[in-house]
């Protein structure tokens, strides 16, 4: 009997190692495929040049790095105020029953596939930008707005958890001193929940920089360093997805190398989110 239990425990441990094992496999394979190219091109040439002509042997991804970063920052500008507002309203200013309905409803946004966001972006948002602001419409701005909406569920649900984790004693103490609800929220609750909210924002950034399909559909995919929010851009992710279908040889290696850069950025974001949460 004891032996059987021991055997089961070992078996379960093996199953439990599957996720870390998959993560290791992913890391190994992406690096095996992409790292040789970074070595032969030189890391500096790879990430600090914006000359991307893979068939002629030029592999510089600076323009895409800049585009990815700008699109992500744009998404933050749109998504963080909206998401935080929703979280504050749900956690602090709405009756319990309304919260019970609104929270799951807003979380439905997470279920909508990214291709659908991209599609609606092309149908509704892109023409608006083209007609009222100028440019081709497919742009940095369009991608930022769509991504800003897509990160809302991440920002909202993690921020709500952070806000509800603040003990009611804090609120009661502040209200008893004669502060208004908003003074309580802005000076007591938000600072107390700040590490959770920062985690929410970082995870939202990770989500935005890694998103592919929606960005391909609305960003215009032109290879350039944008000079205006109305310029079309090509991000790291869209470059991989657009070219992987026909790339071969060193070109394909370069796409995996792009994957490495993306992977490293996202792992740094995830790690810092984990560290911040743990410190709390």
């Amino acid at each position: 009997m004891m032996q059987r239990e021991k055997f089961i425990e070992r078996g379960l441990l093996l199953l439990a190692l599957s996720s870390i094992g998959s993560l290791a496999l992913i890391t190994i394979f992406i690096f095996i495929e992409g790292f040789p190219l970074i070595l032969s091109t030189g890391l500096k040439n790879f990430i600090l040049s914006s000359h991307w002509a893979p068939t002629k042997g030029h592999f510089g991804i600076l323009a895409m790095i800049i585009s990815s970063v700008l699109v992500t920052l744009g998404a933050m500008v749109i998504g963080v105020p909206l998401g935080l507002s929703c979280a504050i309203v749900l956690a602090e200013f709405s009756p319990k029953r309304l919260k019970m309905v609104l929270k799951p409803t807003l979380e439905l946004l997470a279920g909508i596939p990214s291709v659908v966001y991209g599609f609606l972006g092309v149908i509704w948002l892109v023409p608006l930008i083209r007609n009222y602001l100028g440019g081709p419409g497919l742009s940095l701005l369009a991608a930022s707005i769509i991504l800003g909406i897509m990160i809302l569920p991440t920002v909202i649900s993690i921020s709500i958890d952070a806000l509800t984790a603040v003990p009611d004693l804090y609120r009661d103490g502040s209200l008893a001193l004669g502060a208004t609800r908003w003074q309580t929220v802005s000076r007591v609750v938000l600072p107390a929940a700040s590490s959770g909210i920062i985690t929410a924002i970082i995870l939202g950034m990770g989500r935005a920089i890694g998103e592919t399909m929606a960005v391909i559909m609305v960003a215009g995919n032109a290879l350039q360093i944008p000079t205006s929010v109305l310029d079309p851009v090509r991000t790291l992710t869209s470059n991989i997805a657009l070219e992987l279908g026909y790339a071969a040889g060193r070109h394909r290696e370069a796409l995996f190398a792009t994957g490495i850069v993306l992977f490293v950025i996202i792992m740094i974001l995830n790690l810092s989110a984990t560290l911040i949460t743990r410190r709390r």
């Binding site: 425990e9 379960l12 996720s19 993560l23 609104l102 909508i112 890694g210």
Partner: protein, 278 residues
Amino acid sequence: MRLDPHTTQRLVKALLWAFTGFTLLILIFIIVDISIKGLPQVTPGFLSQDSTDMGRAGGIFPTIVATAYITALAILLASPLGVGTAIYLTEYTREGWATRIIRFGAECLAGVPSIILGLFGFVLFVLKLGFGWSVLSGGLTLAIMVLPIIIRTSEEAIKAVPQDYRTACLSLGMSQWQTVTRIVLPSALPGITTGIMLSVGRSLGETAVLLFTAGAALRTPVSLFDSGRTMAVHFYILAREGISMPNAYGTAAVLVISILVINVVAYTLMQRLMRRYS
């Protein structure tokens, strides 16, 4: 000039509610737009006929079969791994370095973007293992994608089962494993089902992973080694290449409504479980 705190509060509240209302409006707009333009396309024929002329005419039957096939495979592979992990984490070990590594793995895996998973599935399953663009490659890669979802929800569900249940079983002389299989898992089943349903929802909407692992052949896949175009990939191709807007909307309606229904049911199940034990 300093505003009186009550006036400030009124202004801020109005602004916050306006932003919340706007967010809700976006959600409503998405669902209404897709339903109004998509649902009229969704006839019994649309669901049961083969696609012809690259998807310009005919139905989406092959993509429904491919979606079901790939999703089922992914769930079949990921469920035992995910539930096993959750049992190990909650019932078989104390918090320590092992659990920390396992949780860290699951958390990081959840953060890996789908394009990276697509690259990985493409190089390992499609090229190195020689499965080609196939249902098998797609299902394997999707299984890795949904694994963290199943782990997280199952763990939450198993933790919700009251400790008394376990104590009672163990004091009756049942082994740990008997306690888990006869008492803990049946009590946590609704929550575990929630995790599986959320994974189905996530799989239905996935595109970037499948484009590079399952391919885009518009035929009904039969063997595990056949390429299959899922609904989401089909929708992407129809929309991006401007093949047929009505059919794109129709496919989107089927896709979005199935995902919403699945997510709502999954959420209700989990709520019921949490209420029962709290």
